[in-house]
């Protein structure tokens, strides 16, 4: 049997042409290859989204700047948000889930490999469709431009009256198409985790990574669907004369907000739960201890999943829903802070009494803990609705959610990259470059997003292409912009590290970190069939049991 794997050409001696390789990758249904396709796709869009952010920050470096016109700026923030959420964060997290879940649960592939491929290609085409708007959409300002309605596209700004041409339709269709892909992938993850675990791996014994992605998939199924429904309604309004959001016919602009945020809030948990998954796998290994409180971590995850479906209108505190409704969403939002906080404490308790090794993945995880703590606390501030009446829709909110998404999610993603790169490529990355990336990015992140809170506190709303001098916003905006360049430098070092290490890195072996979950028991990179023999497990850390036969986990669990 050919030991065909991802990184190396076939060893059977036939030389295969570039077209053959391309064909293999395009038609693949192997979860590892699809995972890598997702990840590479997302990295490309990460750079594009980063350029969009840079353009905005240059425009905002000083008041009344004219680097770009308001029309271009408005397209930038719409595309930046839409790209980063739907074509960077979701694909990259699906990519890691696809790659790792079968390996971690001792399976040979996902439950539905062809559905897997369908999911990836739908996401890919969705992204291309969104960017095709740059040439294909007839917007208000002439031929070819991107949507400019904001990533949450509030009605009635998106109606034909106020969004002439097709740019909004590209937004709608791109998200519809990639939404089907996301739902497909989520169904696949649920079926895989529930149906393909190896013998002995009960739900209580599977890695937290699998649990967190299972709950994430459940949220995708329940939350992306409402967005799909709302998108269909918007298309019906725009093209068949329907009146869902047509305020002139008695329709409601607020109901779009409800439908969008019923998607939008669980969506951020869709993004953050996999980040928690990375942290829950990496922190124990580099602390040399089992995760503290596994059952509580599972319980907290499920609680977060449920509660997250009930907090959505905290994005609408200023909309005028009435005191009683506001009060309900205050309590539900504050409630979700409890299981989230419990997770932070459990990660700390995992590190407590351990022997912490400050390799690059762990550095990123420690920064994640610090930053996610702050992000959670600024979230608690805004959950106090009257405080949100000041902070909402200002740069304080922008700072908060970037703190979560960049400071929390992206940092754990970097940790995940460095942690699993040896497994996926068979090579070790450069630790020096990894640390350089970490420090550059850390400095840039804090320069930008710490100081971004301040203009919000001083009254600066979001989504403005320029601002008035003399309100105390100028200096802070300049500092925020400068941080962007440090982050860009960090990303360049990161990409360079990945490329250099892929071609020149030392062989990593199957278990460079002395870790305990099943993916480290097979080759790096894993063969197409993952495992020679499907393993049987007795505890949550099967490799710990093997390495410590006198002191196995299953005696204590």
């Amino acid at each position: 049997m050919s030991t065909e794997s991802i990184a190396w050409p076939s060893t059977t001696g036939e030389s295969r042409s570039f077209v053959d390789h391309l064909h293999e990758w395009i038609t693949t249904v192997d979860h590892k290859r699809l995972g890598i396709l997702y990840i590479v796709y997302a990295l490309v869009f990460l750079v594009i989204g980063g350029v969009e952010a840079t353009v905005m920050r240059i425009q905002l470096i000083r008041p009344h700047n004219d680097f770009v016109s308001p029309q271009v700026f408005n397209r930038m923030f719409t595309m930046h948000g839409t790209t980063m959420i739907f074509f960077v964060a979701m694909p990259i997290l699906f990519g890691f889930a696809n790659y790792l879940i079968p390996l971690m649960i001792g399976a040979r592939d996902m439950a539905f490999p062809r559905l897997n491929a369908f999911g990836f290609w739908m996401t890919a085409f969705g992204g291309l469709l969104l960017y095709f708007s740059l040439v294909g959409a007839n917007g208000l300002y002439g031929a070819g431009n991107a949507p400019d309605v904001g990533w949450f596209a509030y009605a009635p700004l998106t109606s034909q009256t106020f969004s002439v041409g097709h740019s909004t339709d590209f937004w709608t269709l791109a998200l519809l198409v990639s939404g089907f892909g996301s739902i497909g992938t989520a169904i696949n993850i649920v079926a895989t985790v529930l149906c393909l675990r190896c013998p002995g791996m009960t739900l209580a014994k599977m890695p937290l990574f699998a649990w967190l992605n299972l709950v994430m998939a459940g949220l995708v199924i329940l939350a992306v669907s409402p967005l799909t429904a709302a998108q269909v309604m918007l298309l019906l309004d725009r093209y068949l004369g329907a009146h869902f959001f047509d305020t002139q016919a008695g329709g409601s602009a607020v109901i779009w907000m409800h439908f969008f945020w019923i998607f939008g809030h669980p969506e951020v948990y869709v993004l953050v739960l996999p980040a928690f998954a990375f942290a829950s796998e990496i922190i124990p290994v580099f602390s040399r201890k089992a995760i503290f409180g596994y059952p509580v971590m599972v319980g907290a995850t499920v609680a977060i999943g449920f509660i997250s479906m009930s907090v959505w209108a905290h994005h609408m505190f200023t909309v005028g829903m009435g005191a009683n409704v506001n009060t309900f969403f205050v309590i539900s939002t504050m409630a979700i802070a409890v299981p989230t906080g419990i997770k932070i404490f459990n990660w700390l308790a995992t590190m407590w009494g351990g022997k912490i090794e400050f390799k690059t993945p762990m550095l990123f995880c420690i920064a994640f803990l610090f930053q996610f703590l702050i992000a959670g606390l600024t979230g608690v501030m805004m959950s106090a609705a009257p405080f949100d009446w000041q902070l909402g829709n200002s740069y304080f909110v922008v700072a908060h959610f970037h703190y979560v998404i960049v400071g929390g999610i992206l940092f754990t993603l970097f940790a995940a990259f460095y942690y699993w790169f040896p497994k996926m490529s068979g090579k070790m990355y450069s630790e020096t470059l990894g640390k350089l990336h970490f420090w550059l990015f850390l400095i840039g992140f804090h320069l930008t997003f710490d100081f971004m809170h301040i203009p919000g506190l001083l009254g600066m709303p979001r989504r403005i292409y320029t601002y008035e001098p003399g309100r105390g916003w100028d200096t802070w905006n300049s500092i925020v912009t400068i941080g962007v360049f440090f982050q860009a430098a960090g990303i360049l070092v990161f990409l360079g590290n990945l490329l250099w290490s892929y071609y020149r890195g030392k062989d990593a072996g199957s278990d460079p970190w002395d870790a305990w979950t099943l993916e480290w028991s097979t080759n790096s990179p894993p063969p197409a069939y993952n495992f020679h023999l499907i393993p049987t497990v007795k505890s949550r850390r099967p490799l710990w049991d093997l390495k410590h036969p006198d002191d196995p986990d299953w005696k204590y669990e």
Binding site: P156, G250, A290, G293, G320, A335, V380, P386, N393
Partner: protein, 351 residues
């Protein structure tokens, strides 16, 4: 060596970041807007803003304490439990969990949440269920792309972009109640020093109230993305003494003063498309799409705060609005230079 240096430098970096953050918080909390030009949410000048400010101090204190405690624990972990150079290579004792600890750090956050919630619920009720005293002023604010229309129904005044309200004394309050409507897309009315923001949503009337305690000009701007020129939909609220306010009302109620002969500028105004959008009370112009211009010269700014109200800016605005506010819905009027001069002169008479 690398590990120890790494952990120490991380400790340093995180502490520096923390100190920075503290310094900044202190800086930011200084009332920047003790001069009336501030938009600092921590410089409240009206009861809603003050209630929010009080709540915010409580919330900041609680979250601040939580942050310090957890950060200290993190720092301690990272320093105390780092792998030493002379490590013996054995795995540390494996601790799988502890029910008591889990209970403790569940119960304590729940109690904190209950306290925060109760404080919050009280302020929501204070602001959103406030009783309406009889001597309040009522204003209807209508959001447009990209300007603000104000109507004082009981006082018979219609104006645009610059809101005038009387100052309110706690002993005998004269609050202003603002009903918020929209003529097109979503907007949001935000004057940080006077109140939290409330949105203007078509087919969904909202209301808010302010009772400013000091006279002066309070600044803000639209806080819900409403289209191309969302950024320049600025707000100016003039808080005046009761006498000044009454005088302003009287002036605003007058129709436009028209000279004996209809000037050339007025003729241009009334025969080009201006009257399709604009109203000048007492003349044939009664368009509703754009701002009411009857007392244009009583305002400090034009184009919803995008430019100062000077003859040059006014002329430029009519000649080419895109030079001041690209994407605004005012069309360039394609007038010749003499026509522009005459028109500007006419507009200058609308005091």
């Amino acid at each position: 060596m690398l590990q120890m240096r790494s952990s120490m430098s991380r400790f340093l970096a995180q502490t520096i970041v923390l100190l920075f953050w503290c310094a900044v918080a202190v800086w930011a909390s200084e009332p920047k807007g003790s001069s009336p030009d501030g938009t600092n949410i921590f410089a409240p000048a009206s009861t809603p803003a003050k209630s929010i400010f009080g709540l915010s101090l409580f919330v900041l204190a609680v979250t601040g304490v939580i942050f310090l405690v957890v950060f200290a624990l993190l720092l301690y972990c990272v320093v105390k439990f780092r792998k030493r150079r002379n490590d013996d290579g054995r795995e540390p004792p494996q601790v799988y969990g502890s029910n008591q600890v889990e209970l403790a750090w569940t119960v304590i956050p729940v109690l904190i949440v209950v306290a925060l919630f109760m404080a919050t619920a009280r302020v929501i009720a204070t602001v959103q269920k406030a009783a309406r005293p009889d001597n309040g002023i009522e204003v209807i604010a209508i959001g447009h792309q990209f300007w603000w229309e104000y109507r004082y129904p009981a006082l018979g005044v219609v104006t645009a972009n610059e809101l005038h309200v009387p100052v309110s004394d706690d002993s005998r309050p004269t609050p202003t109640f603002i009903k918020l409507l929209s003529a097109d897309t979503d907007h949001s009315f935000w004057i940080p020093r006077l109140a939290g923001k409330t949105d203007l949503i078509p087919n969904h009337p909202n209301s808010m109230w302010i009772d400013p305690h000091e006279t002066g000009v309070y600044l803000g701007q639209c806080a819900q993305y409403c289209g191309t020129q969302h950024a320049k939909m600025l707000l100016r609220v003039y808080v005046q003494s009761q006498d000044e306010f009454d005088r302003w009302i009287q002036e605003q109620r007058q129709p436009a003063t028209v000279g004996n002969a209809v000037s050339q500028g007025q003729r241009i105004f009334e025969t080009t498309a201006c009257i399709n959008c604009h109203t000048v009370a007492g003349t044939v112009a009664n368009g509703r799409f754009g701002p009411d211009l009857t007392h244009l010269m009583s305002r400090d700014t034009i184009a919803a705060g995008a430019a100062k109200n000077t003859p040059e800016n006014l002329r430029q605005w009519i000649l080419n609005p895109a030079a001041i506010k690209p994407g605004s819905l005012m069309p360039a009027m394609q007038l010749s230079d003499p026509e522009l001069d005459a028109l500007t002169t006419y507009l200058e008479t609308l005091r």
